[in-house]
């Protein structure tokens, strides 16, 4: 252990010091992002068929449970991602997103059974399911851009995990917003496409995070 190289490094870092703007707290940045998602939801609500949405949710309890699950997953994953984006937060924050994620997956899984339980349910053909995939990914792009903009000055010590949680927040928010335009009930094809879309968004975010974050 020698002092000289450390001293040289310290001198160099001190010589290059510039004033920095302190990052807003993780909770504040998470609320800003969730507020933006709320604005997008309000904008979509003005053009969506809300009575039809209400009828669909009232007819099938598992559907509104799935909506509650995806909404809470978006909120909890966003809070966890922003908390983990600063060095001194515990990795256990990642677990915050697990209970709502289980609720979302469980309630969506129940939807698969409805085709057999309730005859006459409109099941999504592959063409409509493909539209879901495109919609979730399409909504995820601007939501991801804003999320990573809010995370860009952070310094996560676990960049992959932080970015994956960010991706989960984005995908869950996109899936929630999709309900405004979902013309049919959940079914196995639909659920599979949702899972593929969410998995894709989380994987791409994780890869992007490893490149974007400085650590």
């Amino acid at each position: 252990m020698s002092a000289a190289p450390n001293d040289e490094l310290i001198e160099s870092l001190a010589a290059g010091l510039r004033p920095v703007r302190r990052l807003a707290s993780p909770a504040v940045r998470a609320l800003i992002w969730l507020g933006l998602v709320g604005v997008v939801a309000a904008a979509l609500a003005t053009v969506a068929d809300l009575p039809a949405l209400a009828r669909r949710l009232a007819a099938a309890p598992d559907m509104w449970l799935a909506v509650v699950g995806s909404t809470l997953t978006a909120a909890c994953a966003a809070f966890a991602a922003f908390e983990l984006s600063v060095p001194d937060r515990r990795p256990a924050w990642a677990l915050l997103a697990v209970p709502p994620l289980l609720l979302w997956i469980g309630a969506s899984g129940l939807g698969c059974l409805r085709g057999w339980i309730v005859p006459g349910t409109h099941l999504a053909p592959m063409s409509e399911a493909r539209d879901c995939l495109i919609s979730i990914i399409g909504l995820s792009v601007p939501l991801s851009a804003v999320l990573f903009l809010l995370l860009r000055r952070a310094f996560p010590l676990r960049p992959g995990l932080t970015a994956a949680l960010g991706g989960l927040a984005v995908a869950a928010a996109a899936a929630t917003l999709l309900n405004f335009f979902h013309p049919f009930d959940a079914a196995a094809t639909d659920l599979t496409v949702h899972a593929v879309a969410v998995g894709l968004v989380v994987s791409v975010s994780r890869l992007a995070g490893r490149r974007i974050f400085p650590s």
């Binding site: 450390n6 040289e8 490094l9 310290i10 870092l13 920095v20 060095p87 001194d88 310094f155």
Partner: protein, 191 residues
Amino acid sequence: MGAAETVTNAGDRRRGALMAAAQAGDATAYRTLLRECVGLVQALACKRGVSPGRVDDVVQETLLSVHRAMQTYDPQRSFTAWLNAIAQRRAIDVLRSDSRRWGRELNLPLAYESFPDAARSDGVLEDTQLGASLRLAIGRLPEAQRQAVERLVIEEKSLAEAAAVTGRREGALKVNLHRALKTLRAMLRGE
């Protein structure tokens, strides 16, 4: 609350205040703080089982990380906890890198005896694929980092000689070499 804990808390608050001053651009406070960090990080690295020869690597990687992460420090929270989180991560990085290197080196003698490589028998590394990849990666480094690698590693110049040749400060060369090695590791890993 014991006397030792009171002293620790007072030290933590003082370091937090120094970092808050550094965030505002106070280089003197920053220098004082980083000097204090050296001892704290050395102690943590030793406790985590980092070999004595690698403790300074943990210290320097941690100081560079502190520099890049300083905007994330919240003066309402413990500075020591913030620093320890970064230092622990950098210690784990060094331990993992050592473990990978030892794994390779343990197998190397057997591999060498079993599969002698004619291209390397004259000691020329340039024709190997690794040599070519490394040269390519060095060529893709930013100018300042490339100069540091070429002068300090390839030409084996001293810091003073390299500073004279490049016209850069010794400290800047040192920082650039650190950054270059980090970038090269990432490039060669394909990240």
